[in-house]
Each structure stands twice: as C-alpha cells, then as structure tokens.
Amino acid sequence: MTAKKILVADDESHILHVVSLKLRNAGFDVITACDGQEALELAISEHPDLVITDYHMPQLSGLELCQKLKEDPSTAGIPAIMLTARGYQLEPKDTEQSGICRLLTKPFSPRQLLSTVNEILRPAA
C-alpha cells in the first residue's frame, strides 16, 4: 500500500517543518507550499489525499485555496484541515462550503493534528 500524500501549506517555515516531520515520521508522504498559490498549483498537479492549510497566507488565503479546490472537479474531493490562529474569523458556512472538514487552532498539538489526520485518512476499518 502506497503512503497517503498530504499537502501542507503555511507561510511560517517552522510550522511547515514541524508538521511535515510529524507526518513523515508517521509514514505519510508530505509535500509543502509556503503560500496559497503554490499550494493550489501543487494540489492540482499532485492530487494529494489531504490538504492541511493555514488561513492567513500571501497570494491566496487558505479559505480561497479550499474554495478553488472545491470548484475544480479534479480536486473537489480532497478533504482539508485548516490550521489557524484566526479561526474566529471563519464563518461555519464558509468552511462547510469549502470542503474544510476540521478546524484546528494555533497553538496546536502535532500529536492532535496527527490523530485528526488519521481519523480522516485511516478510519478504523
């Protein structure tokens, strides 16, 4: 069984690094982007199984990224986790309509992030 591929987008390099490391150590294949536009391009070309994105990013915000992925039939099915310090700025209807299935607030626990990822990608058989 090939490893599930996760796209992580954040403009904070430390966060990007720590999230990638946690997921790689858990056996996932991780690709990273440091802004929304790069993430969109990677998502279209790489078709990841899951997107973990920050909300506030240059070029394209995390919400816009998820909305664009939802609009494109080839990426519409990709679930997304939003990892943000500004969760309070998001309306529930925005997240629902953009395919965002979980909202995690910074400061976050990598352990909790991993278990959320497992819940989505490796549901108990």
Partner: protein, 476 residues
Amino acid sequence: MRRGRLLSILMVLFVLGGIECFLVSAQEAWKAGAHVEIGVLGSVLFVLGAGTGMLAITTLRKDCRQLITHIERMSLNGKLDALRTNNPEIRPLISALNEMVEHADNSVADAVMQMRELEIQLKVATAERQHAEAIIYSISDAVLVTDTFDDLVLANESAARTFQFDLDHSRRLPVEQIIHDEKLVALIRDMRQSNSKTGRRIVEHRIKGAREEKIFKVTLSSVTDNSDTPAGVVAVLHDMTREKEVAEMKNDFVSSVSHELRTPLASIKAYVEMLIDGEADDEKTTREFYEVIQNEANRLSRLIDNILNISRIESGLVQINKHPQSLMVILKEAMEVIAPQAKLKQIQLIEQLTPVFYQTMADRDMLYQAVLNLLSNAVKYTPQGGTITVQTSVDEAKRKIIARIIDTGVGIPPKDLPFVFDKFYRAEANNHMGKGTGLGLSLVKHIIETVHRGRMFVESHVGKGSCFGFELDLCD
C-alpha cells in the same frame, strides 16, 4: 375762610329782605299808592343781595381756578400732591378729591413697584434664556428642540452644520421642512405623539453626508411645561463615528496582537511536544528544534517588548532620559550590531556620516532601538548582494540633523506606503521577505515623533529600494 360763609348769609338775608320789601311795597302801592320808600328799600336790598351773590360766585370761581392751576402743575410734574382751599363751601369736595388722589397715588406706586419687579424678572429670564442658548450653541452635539406642532423652536450651529440649514431662518418652521431626514423627523414625531412626560429614547442613527456616512447616537427627550403637559421634544445628536472607529481599531489591535502572539507560541508548543514525543531522532534535529524554540521565544519576547513600549509611549508612562547625544555614534553602534546579519546575505553596509560633534537631545536607548529597527528592516527586505547606505546630513540654518537609511531592497508598493507606520500593518507583497511583528516601524515613528519631537519620512520605489529617514533638532 369765614368771608365766604358771611357773604352767603348776607346774600340770603339781602335777597330775602329785598323780596319781602318789594312784595309789601308792591301790595301797598297797589292798594293806596303809599309806602314807596319801603319799595325803594326792597329794591336796594334786592340789588345788594344780587351783588353779594355775584361776589360769592366770583370768589368760588377764583378758588376753582386756583385748584385747576394746582392740578395742572401736578400733572406737569407728574407728582400727586394734596389739594388745598380756603373756601369752606368746597372743602368737603376737596377732602374727597384728596382722598381719591391719595388712593390713586398709592395705586400708582404699587403699579410702579410691580413694573420694576417685572422688569427685573424679565431681565433675569432673558439672561437665563441667553445663558441656556449659549450652552446649547456651544456644545458640539447637534441639538434640535421642537414644539407640540413639530415646529423647530431652537437649534444650534452643530445641528445646522449636520443638516445643512440656515440657523437664522429656521425658527418656527415645520421640522420636516428643515431636516431632510425622514427617519429622524419620524423619530421626533413619534416621541411627541407618545405624549410621554418623562420619556427618553436613545437610538443609533446613520446620516449620509457629502463625503462620508456618520453614525450618531440620538437622544430624544420629551419636554413638559409648568403644568406638566408635553410641550415638545429635544433631540441631541452625538457624533460617534470616531468612537466607533476607535473601538474598531481597538478590536483590530487585540485580534492582531493575539494572532501575532499565537504564531511564535504555536512553534514553541509544537517543537516542545515533538521533543517530548521523541520525534527528533538525531542530535542535529534535536539541536535544530532547540534553536527554533529559542528563536521563537526571542521573537515572542521582542513582540511583547514592542507592544509594551508602544503602549507606554502612547500613554506617556515611559521614562525618558534625554541627554546630548551624537546620532552618528548611535548609528555606528547599530551598524556594528547589524553587520553579521548583513554579511550573511552579502549585503554591503556603506557609511556616509557627518562629524560626530553634532549633537541632539535624545534618549540614547530609545534612539538606538529606532535605528536598529530601521537597519534590521533594511537587511530583511534587501535581497542578497544589495547595499544599505547609512547617511546623515546637517542643516545648520534650520538646526536640524537628518538621518537616512537607504536600501536596494524590494521597495514598498505605493498603495501600502501611507500605512507602513501603522500598527501591525505589513505590505502583503513583501510578506515572503521575512517575518515581522508589524510593530517595528510603528515604534520607530513613536520614538522619533512622540518622544523626540522629530519627523519621520519614507520614500520607496518597488524593485529599486526604500529610504527611511528622520530629522531631529540639533543641540545649541
């Protein structure tokens, strides 16, 4: 005195005697043609009686004339005086007149007193009204007072400005003719129709002006007269546009601060947990994690310092120690501190400084922090191999020293340039160049302008670079 009465008695006697003699002599003469002497005597007595009568009438007329002259003099002087006469015949009349005059005199005195009291009351009322109007005119809130017919009774200049009407030609006109704001007119009418005696209503109301929409807090109160019946409505409009903006800014500030604090905290928390969970499996990674934690902790500490410094300066609580300082010395020290970071990016630091003897009154630590912030920004936003020029110049005529930090960095887009000194403002286009708190430049501006009464300026061209500078007064 007695002459009048004596004359009257004599006149009566003479007349009676005359009449008697005449009648007797006439009777006798008719019978026998005798006693002609008695007839003559009767005639004489009659003539004497008539003469005495004439004399009495003349005396009476003279007394009357005297009285008229007296009355005329009184009316001329405007002063009532007792009437006097020697004539006992008219004395009761004079007494009655005097009594009447005295009564009238008292009434006039009372009326004059009442008039004076009313005049005083009028003056007091006028002064009080002018005072109240002056208060209403002087307050910055717009005030509109209407009566039971919804006519405008009183308004102040602020109201005239807000609703653009002519204050001098607005009184006693229906309020809807003056204020073209249906909602406000309806509010005033509703308040009046509610017939409330002590009612008060506060509503938020937006008014579209020529340039911007303003938000007002409208306080509507019923006015009652002395008999406690509703007499009209007072509407006070308080412009709270600015207050709303400040409240919004405060909210933005709190939300930005919390976001800025969460970001480094998120890294610290995540990396610590990774270390605890043994995710860093070799020494190199472990060391890298410690360094990230240390750097992010420093970032957090810097952020808190900046926030505290800004708020201390803004609230005037900061302790300022100003002494004559050489700006050139401070710039050199800051350049030495920044040199290793510049070297890492192969950025050349160029020094173009005036002699050190030019001094300025400054808080050394604060000015050093400001200069260091500017230099650190220059290094952050200048790509590899660029240059940073630190330049000073002196304007002897204006007694000013000007410092410039010129970089060959990415530059700031014109749309962002007016906001670069705002708290937490970061030009989005340059976000990828480096992390920042969005507080550094705000603090620099505060240090230069608030603490040192200097002037901060910026020029920038996208792709070419930026020049951040400030000018300070030279010491005498």
